[in-house]
């Protein structure tokens, strides 16, 4: 069984998953890994930073002679947590409302659907700007803000999937033998909704990670510590790009590979389970 | 319409000669031979009927002759059209012949017209491409063509879109498009299957009338022997990609030799019934083209099949009439045929369970 899945998901899928596991482990274990201190200044006597990539500084250093590789790995901690928390929140809230709306139908469904539409018709970044501008810029606030943005797309998919399953025989059968709503939702519907949601979660995590970067470029990302978005921003000025392009490009490459892996894995899972395309 | 005709056209006599045509599709499950060694000829002004069950290769045959095939198809054999060799090394650019020398009326008029293009434009297109007509001339000609195919109020219809017309009207438009440049050869692939019974007869009548008027050759494809009976000079019967019987229409109906043709005839739908309801559909299924049977392809379904049929494929043999050919070991009228027939009527054997 496992090798039929492998054959159809393709080797690239496993490379993508491998990368995601690797970067997550690096981020998780960063403080205990033999890498440089992200906040230390590695000044070399007689030379002005930033230093180009070398054997000591794989990704070079920034203007303050801080090691870009270490900063990128530590940046992964924040970026991945944001991505993960955001999509987990979106799944929990959006998934629940979507399934309930799709199952109960009628008025609940109409109200929930309208709320989804309102949220979807907001350019999502603008909403993020609004919330982060009015609240603080802590890790939790940002992550939850992006999570709120994930609610509508996730909810819409959950609702659509539920609708398509709610009429199937196994649900009607469960209802016929007198199973309660809660039982039907949890035992019969959720397992079927989970797979397409899983694919969406991978894509959604990519979206959230990118959104953090976008907020960073607007000066609205997490205030403390490095994030991928903030690291790229620091290297993105014209002068920095001209003199020390590595500052931006190190984190860009890592961010891009991660986002690409999430997208690819999500895409494969989706087509593997033949989930119809629903855009984020 | 003579002014439209190009030089080197066949005014009379042989228009089309197909020899040993074989069309193979490359598919995921391997090659599929959808047309297998078909030979036939057609004279100017003649009408040829191609008959067979669904999947017997009628469409593929007519599209093979026309060259309208997907890129997965490969053709072998020879096709001569007038003095041109369509399969040889000097084959002409087919898109110069399409619409001008040969054109096609498709089965389903509901999906064969461009939904977002005015009817007039669709008729004008070949006129402008092939004959270099100006927009205005092309529109005037389009209106005349609409009148030719008996569409009322052609001046108004010319500016309408397909969805504003009924199915029968749309099929008339299709015919108008096909006739626009005055082709010498018209393919009509089940032109009436998608239409109401009453409209069916009108469309067939229209094609026949235009054929006579333009001295045009027609290839009429259908799964219904009743349709071709009154409208063709020659009938070719196909089964599993092969020609199994071919004869002048009268000869075929009076002296048919293939048990398959006979079975087809018995399955003609009656006019007083809704189309597609058969009195007796032939039991069993057509052969799998991925893995064709060794002997006669019809053997698994043939009431008259014997061991030889399953071992050896019957060649296309000539009957008493030199224009009549058929491929069967124990044809209608043979001693073995009568023997089987008697046994069936005596109730000793039912079908081909042996």
């Amino acid at each position: 069984m496992s090798d039929t899945i492998n054959r159809r998901l393709g080797p690239l899928f496993w490379i993508a998953v491998g990368w995601l596991v690797l970067i997550s482990l690096l981020a998780l274990l960063a403080p205990w890994l033999p890498i440089k201190d992200p906040d230390a200044y590695y000044l070399v006597r007689g030379e002005r930073p930033p230093y180009a990539p070398s054997a000591t500084h794989w990704f070079g250093t920034d203007q303050d002679a801080r090691d870009m590789f270490a900063r990128t790995i530590f940046g992964a901690r924040v970026s991945l947590v944001i991505g993960f928390v955001a999509i987990a929140f979106g799944m929990l809230v959006g998934g629940t409302t979507g399934v309930v709306a799709g199952y109960l139908r009628g008025r609940t469904d109409r109200i929930v659907s309208f709320v989804f539409i309102v949220f979807l018709s907001f350019p999502s970044l603008v909403l993020a700007i609004l919330i982060t501008a009015l609240l603080d810029r802590g890790l939790v606030t940002i992550a939850l803000t992006l999570g709120v943005l994930a609610v509508a797309p996730v909810g819409r998919l959950a609702r659509a999937t539920t609708l398509s399953f709610a009429e199937r025989e196994f649900v009607t059968a469960a209802r016929a033998i007198g199973a309660g709503d809660r039982r039907i939702i949890i035992r019969e519907l959720l397992p079927n909704v989970v797979i397409p949601m899983g694919a969406l979660a991978l894509l959604g995590m990519a979206v959230a990670i990118v959104a953090e970067g976008g907020l960073a470029f607007l000066g609205l990302s997490v205030e403390k510590g490095p994030t991928w978005g903030k690291l790229i921003l620091i290297g993105a000025g014209s002068r920095e790009l001209e003199k020390s392009p590595w500052i931006a490009f190190g984190p860009i490459i890592i961010l891009f590979i991660t986002v690409l892996s999430l997208n690819y894995a999500g895409d494969r899972v989706r087509s593997y389970f033949d989930v119809r395309e629903i855009g984020l | 319409m003579t002014s439209l005709q190009t030089d080197g056209r066949v005014a009379d006599g042989r228009l089309l000669t197909v020899e040993d045509l074989r069309t193979t599709f490359a598919t995921e499950r391997g090659p599929v031979c959808a047309v297998d060694g078909v030979s036939l000829t057609l004279d100017r002004g003649q009408a040829l009927g191609i008959v067979g069950e669904s999947g017997s290769g009628k469409t593929v045959l007519s599209r093979s002759i026309m060259g309208l095939l997907p890129s997965t198809a490969r053709r072998e054999g020879s096709i001569r059209f007038g003095d041109q060799d369509l399969l040889g090394p000097n084959a002409p650019d087919m898109s110069r012949l399409w619409g001008r020398e040969m054109s096609m009326v498709f089965q389903n008029p509901m999906v064969s017209l461009n939904p977002v293009m005015r009817i007039g434009e669709q008729i004008a297109e070949p006129l402008r491409i092939h004959l270099g007509m100006s927009r205005r001339d092309a529109k005037a000609t389009a209106i005349r063509l609409l009148r030719d195919v008996r569409i009322p109020e052609p001046d108004r219809r010319v500016d309408q879109y397909p969805h504003e017309l009924s199915g029968g009207m749309r099929q008339r438009v299709m015919i108008a498009i096909a006739l626009a440049c005055g082709p010498t050869l018209l393919f009509a692939d089940e032109p009436t299957t998608a239409l109401d019974v009453t409209v069916q007869a009108q469309i067939l009548e229209l094609i026949a009338e235009q054929r006579a008027e333009r001295n045009m050759s027609v290839v009429l494809v259908t799964h219904d022997l009743g349709v071709v009976a009154g409208h063709t000079d020659v009938i070719a019967v196909m089964y599993g990609g092969r020609l199994v019987e071919i004869a002048p229409t009268k000869v075929l109906f009076s002296q048919m030799r293939m048990p398959y043709t006979e079975a087809l005839l018995q399955s003609i739908p009656r006019l007083d019934q809704k189309s597609h309801t058969r009195l007796n559909a032939i039991p069993g299924r057509p052969p799998d083209l991925h893995d064709p049977p060794r002997g006669c392809a019809f053997a698994p379904r043939c009431a008259f099949a014997r061991d030889r049929c399953r071992e050896e494929a019957p060649p296309l043999a000539t009957a008493e009439n030199p224009d009549h050919k058929f491929a069967c070991w124990y044809p209608v009228g043979s001693p073995e045929y009568h023997e089987t027939k008697e046994r069936i009527s005596a109730g000793l054997e039912i079908g081909s369970t042996s």
């Binding site: 539409i117 309102v118 018709s121 907001f122 350019p123 999502s124 970044l125 603008v126 700007i129 609004l130 919330i131 501008a133 009015l134 609240l135 990519a206 990118v210 970067g213 976008g214 470029f217 607007l218 000066g219 790229i232 993105a236 014209s238 790009l241 001209e242 392009p245 931006a248 860009i252 961010l255 891009f256 986002v259 690409l260 997208n263 690819y264 895409d267 855009g279 | 309208l68 898109s95 012949l97 399409w98 619409g99 054109s103 096609m104 498709f106 089965q107 999906v111 064969s112 017209l113 461009n114 939904p115 977002v116 293009m117 297109e125 070949p126 491409i129 092939h130 969805h163 498009i177 626009a180």
Partner: protein, 313 residues
Amino acid sequence: MQRLAASVMLILAVSMLTFGAMNLLGDPLFNILGPAAADTKPESLAKVAAAKELYYLDRPLPERYVRWLGDMVTGDFGVQFGSTGQPPVSELVKERFPRSLTLLVMAQLLAAMIAIPWALISAARANKPADRISTVNSFLLIAMPNFALAVILKYVFGIKLGWFPLTFKATDPWLTRVYQTFLPALTIALPAAAVYQRLLRTDLITTLQEDFILMARSKGVGRQRVLFKHALRPSLFSFITVFGINTGTLIGGSLIVENIFRIPGLGSAIVEAILREDFPVVLAIVMIITTAFVLVNVLVDAVYTLIDPRVRR
């Protein structure tokens, strides 16, 4: 008509959300004035009085909302409190909005100009090597975050090759400014083009299998003409829908890209306003963007009727 009503409902809902956010998340006075709200200096007190008056802060919430909405509709976006001169927000908007609009329109035009030929070429060669390569390319582009692409394009075309200027001067002649806007527009356009390409390619391939395409071929219409005259138009529906919906995403993206390429449009206006904690400006821009987005989608509906006669009455 029904669509129009739904659009108005949508704008109303969004305005409530925006207004609610400003009034319910924290102290509205603080949200409007920033730190000055807590000051007891005389000029701050004057500001507080002015803000209370302007934003009807002494009225109950529903009335405040209605009045605020009324002001918005009549083009009175309030006053910038963060800056010293206090010019009306509408003036700021009038200055910045055209730049953002130019950028967005240019980006969408570029995206369509790239996507349509790209889709036609890959649909005509569906599943051949050229099409496979293009699919990989569009996948990479879609995954590329816009700020990353901005940095890459800025580095390659602005710094290394020097083809495009990296400055934007409001005083330059119009054409020069369009030239200066090209690189940021391309940044927004490329991933959008990839999205459109994928959609349009799929629809084109479906259309190319329709009978009326074969019919057109059988009339002797050449391959190119079949593609352009017969296949393209009936394949445009999902492209146009997504083109409209995507405008929202692109607006978000353009705020970021404006900041990277230093175009003083709404994007930089909103960032400056946030840094100054000047919320009336933020609110005004959010409302403008959302309204623009809803309007685009109404427009998309109108375009439908242009390309498909079956939708017309």
